[in-house]
């Protein structure tokens, strides 16, 4: 199964958000080395970051993003106690999420 990890790191009034998702990110053109059959496409399509339920940023992607994708962003205006939530949905309908409150850190 897939796993989603996030980390918040407040620095100089901004908050760094790092995201690591365990996901194969298959683009559908790779072949299984033993059976020579195409490995079906399996990649994350959308990623959404929200602050207290309000979308801060969203991303659309496909198979050109590396396996087990890593992203980092800098968020502004995040205060102690704010809930940061990361959601993703892939092309096979699977989804994952992770959330963290800024207060948990300080």
């Amino acid at each position: 199964m897939t796993k989603t990890k996030i980390r918040l790191n407040p620095k100089n009034g901004k908050t760094e958000l790092k995201i690591l998702i365990a996901h194969p990110m298959e683009h559908g053109r790779n072949r299984d080395l033993e059976t020579q059959e195409l490995i079906p496409a399996h990649f994350i399509k959308t990623l959404t970051v929200s602050q207290n339920g309000k979308t801060v940023l969203s991303a659309q992607m496909a198979g050109s993003i590396s396996k087990n994708p890593y992203f980092a962003f800098w968020l502004k205006g995040i205060e102690n106690g704010d809930l940061i939530r990361v959601n993703w949905v892939d092309n096979q309908g699977l989804s994952g999420s992770a959330e963290q409150r800024l207060a948990e850190l300080s």
């Binding site: 801060v56 969203s58 962003f73």
Partner: protein, 156 residues
Amino acid sequence: MTYSRRKFLRHATTSGCYVIAACAGLMTPGQVFAEWAEDYFSPGKLEQTLDRLFAGADIADSAAISLNLPLIAEDGAVVPIKVSSTLNDVESIAILVEKNPVPLAAIFTLSENADHFVSAQLKMAETCDVIAVIKAGDQLYSARQQVKVTIGGCGG
């Protein structure tokens, strides 16, 4: 009925995710690139993808975009990239790999609470340019840099 706590939790989280994902989709109808579009991520040449993304609008080279990419990537499967910009009113950042079968790697839509910065990891099929296109205040700006992909460590 034996419905263990563990099982309940698992089901609760999975269905919860779908609900939240659906809500997230509903909350961003006004955003330009809020929906995943087959068109953007279909195979083709870089120029075709740019046309589909930006409807043929002019893209100006800009020194206000900084790309942080390796000059030589030993492994084309994981090429780290950082894009940042000092432009005002940045709405979206698109990252494209010139010679990948599907050139568009990802497009990020940023709200005012997100800094103009994106860090990610790309797959690159071969040595080529990586392009970042930023939409800021109805204008398009871009920056590009070549990345040499060495396969099997034989140099490029």
